[in-house]
């Protein structure tokens, strides 16, 4: 089975342009979805849109026409509240029609408030209660290694999520078992539900923490597509230990209403969608 993506493509301007365009679409659809649903998490969806574009449209071996293909890599959105961005990526990849996006959070919808592996094609783990995705990824990666398979596992973590002790249980285990087919990506937008991470629960020195736990650590600008791609490539070359990519991001990236709101110390757009008029303004900003 041929993988869906073009992993062999060089990180040239053509690829970066393509992925940047996808990221823009993810942002637009994340905002439209949450406004239509009148609930959901726009801020953290926008901070990880570039990462999701790189994952689903370049890095991951997967096949949207065959969502249960055993040879696929696995992606776990451990920060499950960014589901709108994930759904937008999956729809664009072809797992389901774009029209499904507008049913987000509505009764009977395949698109639950948080990712659901039983209801949505393309979802590899049910998440939403923070702290569990990295452990699930460790289990998957162990199984692939045990069977001598080359599948890789990617886990996207929130920064606030790192407050959960279980993340560090998993971090310790991944290094202990020398799991090098696992990549964690931290969406380090420095905001959690009720305030900035520095104030609610300081994560620094974040890179040193992961290093001390035995991980290969990279720090990138999570909105620079080339940096995202290069770091994912580097992760594949790391042997004998797991890799974490700390992606410095901006909560609400690309939409001034949301970015400025967080700059002012408001936490409104963590879990509140834009109003219709705010959405109209935001969509004007989200153009090539």
């Amino acid at each position: 089975m041929a993988p869906f993506n073009e992993k062999t493509a060089p990180h040239d301007t053509g690829l970066i342009k393509k992925l940047t365009k996808v990221a823009l679409l993810i942002r637009r659809n994340s905002l439209i979805m949450t406004t239509k649903a009148a609930s959901g998490h726009p801020g953290g969806s926008l901070s990880c849109s570039d990462i999701l574009a790189a994952i689903y449209f370049h890095q991951l071996r997967h096949d949207p026409k065959n969502p249960t293909w055993e040879g696929r890599d696995r992606f776990i959105l451990s920060k499950g509240h960014a589901a709108p961005a994930l759904y937008a990526a999956l729809a664009e990849a072809g797992y389901f029609p774009t029209e499904e996006l507008w049913s987000l959070r509505k009764i009977g919808s395949m698109l639950q408030g948080h990712p659901d592996m039983k209801k949505t094609p393309g979802i590899d783990a049910s998440t939403g209660t923070l702290g569990q995705g990295l452990s699930i990824g460790v289990g998957m990666a162990l199984a692939f290694k045990l069977d001598g398979k080359t599948n890789r596992v990617y886990v996207l973590l929130g920064d606030g999520e790192l407050d959960e002790g279980q993340v560090w249980e998993a971090a310790m285990a991944a290094a202990h078992y020398k799991i090098d087919n696992l990549v964690a990506i931290v969406d380090y937008n420095r905001q959690q539900l009720s305030g900035c991470t520095d104030r609610i629960m300081n994560l620094e020195p974040i890179a040193d923490k992961w290093r001390a736990f035995g991980w290969h650590v990279m720090e990138i600008d999570g909105h620079q597509m080339k940096q995202i791609l290069d770091s994912l490539d580097e992760a594949e070359k790391v042997k004998g230990k797991p890799t974490v990519i700390i992606a410095h991001t901006v909560k609400g990236k690309g939409v001034s209403i949301i970015e400025n709101s967080f700059l002012k110390g408001e936490c409104k757009f963590h879990g509140t969608p834009l109003s219709e008029s705010e959405l109209a303004k935001a969509l004007e900003e989200l153009h090539e």
């Binding site: 939403g128 569990q132 452990s135 289990g139 162990l142 692939f144 045990l146 285990a173 202990h176």
Partner: protein, 324 residues
């Protein structure tokens, strides 16, 4: 009943090894308690398929979920109090909700843990686990039943909680999987009638099945005919057998090494109150915490002996109404 003794945890550990030989998809996880849960036997023979996550129960459950979600049959073991209570949200979210093929098999259920005391007891696990949709809850009555139950849950696809015990306890079944003239014939969700009796039926689970058989023997000497049913599967509960017992004997006693709230007694009461409200009495730990001590002495102090069962039978008989 024989005086042969064996621990259910030993039977579990030995059976896992056999299963591991037959099926290379079986993996086993533990949280630094493998010498106690007996998963160390599997670890010794299949080191590549054994994962100790250290003292980290949340990770234990979610890692098991990850392994199972890509095709492994994952057995995760620790003590009941840690596995059920420290890994509960993980079990609900990453195992029960998505219906993942993880078997949480805990040892050291109830208060028969003994000297370690209340911090290591678990008298809430049955209530907690049976309240989770998709989860099958099993408590074998002895080491022999543990062997067949372990095989059965390996073959069954879906989340299972199986609760085992620390001490060596009387064997009910013989090596031919029979109790007197009755075949064990283990089927998930189907109880086993071990003794017939027209006056009252005792529904028991786990270690309390042996106590209940002893009680029925003692009661027979006083002219009371008590039937005994081994409810090895708490969920899905064997409604048919419970209703049959209620209708034929008109009075029930439930017996469990668990809080009287929410466990076997709760499950049976739920069936009765909707379909056949006959008098019943719950024998169990009376909504209190335990303490350190030899487990037989704890059973006596907390009302879990055959004489407590017999006392409950006599009490329920006073309340019995004809139900025909």
């Amino acid at each position: 009943m024989s005086e042969r003794l064996a621990a259910t945890r030993d039977a579990y550990g030995e059976t896992l090894v056999g299963l591991g030989r037959m099926n290379k998809n079986i993996v086993v996880l533990d949280a630094d308690l493998s010498p106690s849960t007996k998963t160390n036997l599997f670890a010794k023979e299949f080191p590549d398929r054994f994962f100790d996550v250290g003292i980290a129960e949340a990770n234990l459950i979610s890692v098991a979920a990850g392994l199972a979600s890509v095709g492994k049959i994952a057995f995760a073991s620790t003590f009941s109090v840690f596995g059920v209570e420290k890994g509960l949200n993980q079990f609900k979210q990453s195992v029960a909700y998505p219906n993942i093929n993880v078997k949480l098999v805990t040892t050291h259920g109830g208060i028969s843990v003994g000297e370690d005391g209340s911090s290591h007891f678990c008298i809430e696990d049955i209530a907690i686990m049976r309240s989770l949709p998709n989860v099958t809850v099993i408590i074998p009555a002895d080491a022999i039943e543990t062997k067949v139950a372990t095989k059965a849950i390996a073959e069954y696809h879906g989340p299972v909680f199986m609760r085992l015990s620390r001490p060596k306890t009387p064997l009910i079944y013989d090596e031919g999987y029979r109790y007197q003239d009755r075949d064990l014939n283990f089927k998930i969700g189907k109880s086993v009638t071990l003794r017939d009796g027209n006056d009252v039926t005792i529904l028991a689970t786990g270690l309390m099945v042996a106590e209940s058989l002893q009680a029925a023997n003692d009661l027979a000497k006083e002219g009371i005919a008590a039937g005994v049913i081994n409810i090895h599967t708490i969920k899905p509960i064997d409604r048919e057998a419970i209703l049959q017992a209620a209708l034929s004997t008109g009075a029930l006693v439930t017996v469990e090494e668990h809080n009287i709230i929410g466990g076997l007694g709760g499950a049976v009461a739920e069936v009765l109150v909707e379909e056949a409200p006959v008098p019943m009495i719950r024998v169990g730990i009376r909504d209190t915490y335990g303490e350190s001590g030899p487990w037989r002495e704890l059973f006596a102090k907390y009302g879990l002996t055959s004489s407590d069962v017999a006392k409950a039978v006599k009490e329920v008989l006073k309340r019995k109404i004809k139900w025909r």
